[in-house]
């Protein structure tokens, strides 16, 4: 499933004194099976962009093609070039409704703090809410709930009848994500899925999202404030600032731009700061180190080859 975004702009409160340009002329091609990290400071336009992708917001200008299907046709309120008759408008509206249903089945959106949206008495009912609304039969719904719970690592038999409210924070969030997975989306978009979780909860959620991507061939877009997490997990990073895309490249390349990233309220992983400081002190490390594993490998090559603990003195010439 591919997504093609062309000249996309969104203006809130268009035509009023509060008019705010949230995103401006965004052009992106997202291929099937990509794992994308979307970063940018609060208010940079990330959330506006992802809400466009499953049709929650209509663009002020531009088009979005999901698998070739134009989900924004005739909607943009800034390019009213054609005059349409009432019946044409009705036809268009009907067509759009059909398309949006199609798109929302394919593009699943997990909001920030999704556990606040849990509402049913049991975990099974909560996860079944989406597929039931798709009009699926009882056995199909059940099969999907089972599958979704398995995907997020929550045992169906042990948990299905329990209240979602007696779970831990990390578990609740996984149930909420299962609710979206039960729609069997081909693209999964998550808005800060690890916010507020402890380190273990954070690692578990990220590992599961990674598995969904690797095993189930899902296209994943994660909005995150954690540069460390993005360095570990994303294949491609899209960096937004003031409603525009400022970088769109691999994490290794993007995190080289320390100065620009800091200027726009972001940062790089602590390890990248270390690699830079080591180079200033006389090491010769790649400027594309972003994870602990990479740092260990690179340092192994530069530190004395002799097993250092076998040395009596800390020996060796200090070149820094």
């Amino acid at each position: 499933m591919s997504i093609s975004i062309k000249h996309l702009s969104h203006i809130y409160d268009y035509g009023t004194p509060n008019e705010t340009v949230a995103i401006e002329n965004i052009n992106l091609e997202i291929e099937h099976g990509e794992f994308i990290g979307l970063i940018g400071h609060t208010g940079s336009g990330k959330s506006t962009l992802i809400q466009q992708l499953n049709g929650l917001l209509k663009p002020s200008k531009g088009t979005i093609l999901v698998n070739g299907l134009n989900i924004t046709e005739g909607l943009s309120n800034l390019d009213k070039t054609k005059k349409r008759s009432k019946s044409e408008q009705r036809k268009l509206a009907k067509e759009r409704k059909r398309k949006l249903l199609e798109v929302r089945k394919k593009v699943g959106l997990v909001f920030q703090y999704p556990e606040y949206q849990l509402f049913e008495e049991t975990i099974e009912k909560d996860i079944a809410f989406g597929p039931t609304n798709l009009g699926l039969g009882e056995s199909e719904v059940k099969a999907r709930v089972k599958e979704a719970m398995m995907l997020v690592g929550i045992d169906y038999d042990a948990y299905k009848d329990r209240s979602p409210f007696e779970l831990s924070g990390g578990q609740k969030r996984r149930v909420a994500i299962a609710g979206v997975l039960a729609m069997r989306p081909e693209v999964l978009i998550l808005d800060e899925p690890t916010a507020g979780l402890d380190p273990r909860g954070r690692d578990e959620i990220l590992a599961q999202i990674k598995a969904l991507h690797d095993k189930n061939k899902m296209t994943v877009i994660i909005v995150s404030h954690s540069m460390e997490d993005m360095a570990k997990i994303a294949n491609r990073l899209i960096v937004m600032n003031k409603g525009k895309v400022v970088f769109d490249d691999s994490p290794h390349k993007v995190f080289k731009e320390i100065e620009t990233l800091e200027k726009i309220g972001l940062a790089v992983p602590q390890i990248s700061y270390l690699a830079r400081a080591l180079n200033e002190a006389g090491f010769h490390l790649s400027d594309e180190i972003i994870t602990i594993e990479e740092a260990v490998e690179a340092l192994k090559k530069q530190l004395p080859a002799i097993h250092p603990k076998a040395q009596n003195s800390k020996g060796g010439k200090a070149s820094c």
Partner: protein, 276 residues
Amino acid sequence: MIKTENLYFRYQDEKDEEKYALKDVNLHVKDGEFVVIIGHNGSGKSTLSKLLNGIFLPTSGKIYIDKMDTSDEELIWEIRKTAGMVFQNPDNQLVATIVEEDVAFGPENMGLQPAEIRKRVDEALEIVSMTPYKRKPPHHLSGGQKQRVAIAGILAMKPKCIIFDEPTAMLDPAGRKEVIKTIEYLNKEEKMTVIHITHYMDEAVNADRIIVMDDGQIVLQGTPREVFSKVEHLKRIGLDVPQITQLAYELNQIGYHISTESLTVQELVEELCQLV
């Protein structure tokens, strides 16, 4: 400043079973100390913070805030003035339509004179560097700015101690940096006692003391260097160490003779230079 004695807190879970969120917690925070509390979700750290502020009362044991017993109902307002609290979500803490009115909310409720309120609001906004925004509506501010306004609202009540319950969980990197800088300023320059609860291990690096909670108990405490060098113990209870400490630990594991106590980029650079 803060003292808990054999503190227990019991609650009923969804199945009506009685559970202890806190078991025999003995905590002593000195005047002017900067204490960070870490622990996984459900380890009892938020319960503890709510007890310190008198939002919850102990099942057994005692809590003294500046020598005042939190179970004494008559002292509750005095206690909350002494130990202010800042929460995770800035949007839930701001009540007024203009920044300075929001900051004035606390002192107004204390029944202070208008001139005194004015003075306190100005001072508080100055401390968190939000004076230029005093006439702006809070919803026009960034997350970090909103959180600084929330802090100013607490400062205007002139507390001796502030308890921060995951104040940066919802912020972007720049917002986190602003808030952490403000917290450190309050401790170092304004000499306030600070208790900071967080999931970000790198925010604990500059604390005087880290307290690690697990299953309702204090399982580990000490300086950041002492605590973060216990990498295996922390991982076992679902926590983490800063990336720098993790790297030092991994290099040490594969045989390099370096200290695992490095906390900052600079320290690790110096350690590694020794090896060359």
